[in-house]
Amino acid sequence: MKKREERLILGKGQYADDLEFFNMAHLVFVGSPHAHAKIVSIDIEKALALPGVITVITGKEVAAHTRPLPVQANFTSKGWTWRLADVYAIPADKVRWHGEPVAAVVAEDEETARRAADLVEVAYEVLPLAGDLRTALAPGAPKVYDDWEDNKQVHLVFDFGDPEKAFDMADQVLQVTNREGRVTGVPIEPRGCVGMYDTKNDTLEMWGSFQTPFLSRHNIAATLGVPEAKVKINAVDIGGAFGLKIHAWKENVVALASKLTGRPVKWMEPHRDFMATGPHQRDVFWDGKIAFKNDGTLLGLKATVFHDLGVESTNKGIAALSIFPACSSPTNMYKWVGMHVEGIGTVTNKSFYCAYRGYGKDKGIKFIEAAINQVAKKLHMTPEAIRMKNFIQPHEFPYHQINNYVLDSGDYPAVLNKAMEMADLAFFRKRKKALAGQGRYLGIGLVTAIEPAGVAVPNCQMGGITEARVLITPDGSVEVHSDRTEIGQGVEISHATIVADILGMDMAHIHVKRVTSDFIGQGPLSSRGAVYPASAVAKAAKLLRKKVVQCAGSLMKIPADQVVLEKGFLYPASAPEKKISYAQFADKMFFFPGPRGLDPEILKAHDHLLDVTTTWYSPTTPESGSSYTSFCVSADIAVVELDIDTGVTQIVKYVHVHDAGTIINAQVVDGQIQGGIVQGIGEALYEGLNYDENGQLMNTSFSNYLIPTSVEAPDIQIAHLETPSPFSETGSKGMGEAPIIGAKAVILDAIEDALSEFGIRVNDAPATPEKVRKWIRQASGQNE
C-alpha cells in the first residue's frame, strides 16, 4: 500500500511549482553579480515602467517592514567565541556573496517579472574579498560583517575523556590532515512557495517546499512581526530536500510581497539560483594527531577542524552550531581514552551553510576513518583488524562514550564481518596483486561508521521538540499527524505501517496527513524521523489502542485485555464471530456513546474520544546531555579500478551492511541507503562548488556541478542486521545520513589503496580525474 507514490506516479503531485491561486502574482529575485560590494544606489524606475510589473522590493522596504532574521542557535553563555550577524532577508547596505538578492520584482506573470529583473539598475562599489578561509583569517582581512572584530564566527574547544593521558600512554602518534571541498545537496526541485496575506484577518498562510513548517512559521512570523498564531505554513509535495529546505529566508520576502500587494504571491526559484544562493555544505580542513599503541589500540586525538562557513545571513547560529557535531563525532564507534578537538568557523563571501545530509556528524567520522586507516597502514595491520580491536562490543551497550553520547545498541563486529563476507575481500586482495603486474590498479576501501541520529540540542531550534496525533474518525478511517514532512524518505509508508500494526487495521484506512505548522516539531532533520516523530506516532497509536480496547471491552462486556484488534475488526478473543468493524465501533463512539453502551466512568474520563495527541522525547538526552538518541551502524566496502593515465575511477563493487534497528519498511530503508551512497560517491569523485578569485561561483548548473547519473552510479549490494534500539518507541534508529558518510570515505580510501604503489595520501575531496593525475605526476616526479 503506497498511497502517496500511487498518487504521484499518476501525475497528481502538487509541488510548489504546481500551486495556482486566484489573482496570483509572481516574484523573481534580482541577485548581485558581485561577491562583496556596497550597494550605492538602486534604480527601479525602468523595471516599474514595464507593463505588468506590480512592485519592486529592495533592501529598504525589507528593512522598513520586517525585522532582522531571527537567531536560531545561541551558545554565547558557554564562553566560546560565538558571533551572530544582524542581517535582513534582502540587504540595504552591502552584498556579501555572489547572487545575494538585492531586489525582488513582483509582476502579473513570471515572464514579465524575469524581464523586469534585468531592468533593475544597481550601482555597486566593489569591496575587497574574504573569499576563502586563508584570506578571511589573515590579519587585516576584509570583514564580511563590519561590526565584528574579525571573520572568525566561532571557536569551540572540547575535551572529551582525558586527552593528555591518551597521548602519555601512546607508543606512536601520527599526524593526519583531510580536506573536504564545498558541496551541496541539489534536490532536483528547487525551493518555491506561495504566500497569501489575508488583509481582512491579518493572517498569513503559505504553501510550499517547507521541510520544517513549524520552524519556518516561527522564523517567518518573527521576521514579519506577525503573531505566530496568525501564521500557518503548509508543506506541499516536496521534490527532495536533504536539509536544503529547512531554512526560511527568501520565503520571508514572498510573505512580505503578499502583505504589501494584498495578493497571493508565488516564487519558484530557478535551479541556477538554488545553486548560487541556496545552502551549501561547508568546506572543511582537519589537522590532527592520533595516538595509538603498537598493538593497534586507539587512544586519543588532538585535532583542529577549520570550517569555511560562507555568510551567516539566513540561519543565524545554525552554521556555527554544526561545528559541535563535527568536533564530537570523531569518537565514532571505538573506545578512546581522550580527545581534544577544536572547531573554528569562519565567515567568507560565499553562500550560506546548511545541514546537507550529515550536518557535521559526517565530518568527524570521515576524518577519523581516514586517520584509522593511516594508523593501520603504519602498523601493517588490515583495516578490519584495527577496527575489530577497537570496536565497542555488543555486551557493552548502552555505552557512555567520552563525548557524552549514549550509544544505544548494536553488534559492530557482526556488521563488519557480514560486509567482508559479501565483498569477498580475500578474492579482491588477491586480484589486486595479480593485476598490479599488468599495469592495472585495483583498490579496496573499507570504513565503518555509526550515525548519531535524532537530534536534540539545547539553546537552539533543534531542541528535540515533536508532536504527533492519531485519531479515528467517525467512519473508522484514521488520521496520522506529525511534524515529519515527506521529502522522499517514505514517511507515509512508515507511519501508516506503524499505526496499522498497532491498531490492527489495514493500511488502506490509515491517512498520513500533510504536515503543517499546526503540528509542533522541528521536522525531519538529522535523521530524526525514525526516532522522534515515528516514536511520537507509535506512542500516540499505542495510547489510542488503549482507549479502543477499553471502550470495546466496555461495549462487549469483557475485560479490555480480551479485545482483539485485527485486520480492521474488533472482537472478543473468545468469540471471533462477534466481530465489529472499526467503522461500526467508531460510529458508536462518536454518535451513540450513551451510558447504556459504555461504562459511565469512561465517559467521565473522556476516554471515548478516539483522538490522541502526544509528544516524545529521548530517554537518554535529559541526563547524559547526548544530543543524539540512536546510533545506527554501517560498514562500507568498495572496490575501484583506477586508470592511472587519465585519473578516472571506476567502481567495481560496492557493499553496504547496516544495522538501523527494527526495520519498518525494508524498501524504504534500501532506498535511503542507495540514494545516500550515490550522493557520497558524487562527493568523493565529482561534486565541488568552486569560487573564482572574484568570488564568482563557477558551478551554477547541473552541467558543471556534476552529480552522478545512472551511468556512474554502481550496483549496490546491501544487507541488513536488526538490533533494536532500546530507546526509540519502535526499536528503529535514524539512518538517513549514514550512507552518504560511509560512501564518501570508502571511495576515497579505495582510491588511496589503488594508488598505494605511489604512496599517495588521498586527503582532498573530490578526487576528480584531474586531481588524481596531479597526485600521480607529483608522486612520480613527472612534469608535463
Binding site: 541577485g31 534585468d118 530557478p270
Partner: protein
Amino acid sequence: MPDNSAGNNAMENSVMKNFIGSRAMPDLVYHSPKEISDLLSMVDAHGTSARVVAGCTDFIPSVRTGRWCFDQELNLIDISKMPVLNQIEKTDDVLKIGASVSLTRILESPEIKEGCPVLAQAVAQMASLQVRNTATMGGNICMASPAADTVPPLLVSDAWVIIQDAQGEHKVLLTDFFKGPGRSVLTSGQVLTHICIPVKKANEAAWFQKIGTRTAVIISVVSAAVRVTISNGVCDTARIALGSVAPTPVRVAEAEQFLEGKPLDDQVIAECARMAAQAISPISDLRSSKEYRKDVARTLVKRSILACREALK
C-alpha cells in the same frame, strides 16, 4: 547543446548586469521555411533580427543564462522542418549530411556507420538521449564551441561544409571554418546547410576518445580524434585533432607529419602523442587546468592511435 546559429553576432550583448537565475525568452516571430529559397529570403529580409535555429538546445540555455541578450524582437528561423536539410546522402565517395539532421539520426544511420563510423562514435558520447534527439549536426558546428565533440572526427575526416547565401553555394573546409570560441566564418545572410565527408576507405581506421570529469552527459575536458591510413605496414596519412585545448578544435600538424611514413610501433606512437600534447597550449578554466589538458591529450592521442592500429590488424 548544439544550435544552428548563423551569424548575428552583432546582436549579442555580453554585459551581464544582474544575477538572475533564469532569464525570460525574448519576443519572437517564429518562421518555419520549407525550401532553401524561402530560408535565404527570410534570412536576407530580417537582417540582424534574424536568427537561424534547428534543435534550439543551445539557443534556449544561452538566453536563460543571459549569455545572449536581445533588445529587439527576434525573427527565429527554424530550419529543423526542412526536408532538404534533413537528409543523409551517401555516394561512393562522399557523405552529405543536412544541417538539421539530429544527433540521434547520426548515431543510427547505416550510411554514417559505413562511411564515417568515428563520427557516430563521438556522437554516442555526447549529451543525453533527450538532447541528441533534438540537437543537430549543423548546430554543433555553428556554435563553434571548442568542446564540440562532432568536430574532431570531422576534422580528421577532411570534412567540409556547404554555406549558402543569396550569392549561391560556398564550400568551406572545416579547418577554415572556425574563428574562435563561438565565432566562425559565417556572416549575416549566410546559412550552413550541409556537412560533407569523404567516405572511409578500406585501408583506414579512425578513433575518437574524450575525457570529462564524469563519464556520462559531460562536456569534454579534452577530446581527441585520430584517422590513419596504412599501406605496406607504414602510415600513409595521419590526421589528429583535439577538442577543448584551444579557442577552436584544432589539428596538430607536426604530430601528423611525424606519423606519416612510419610504422605504427609503440615507440612511434608514444612520440607522436607527446608531440601532439607539446603542440597545444590549452587554458585553465572551470572544467580543467591546462596541465591536465596537456597531460591527458597525450594519453588520448596515444590510445586513439593504438585503437586504429588494432582496427587495421
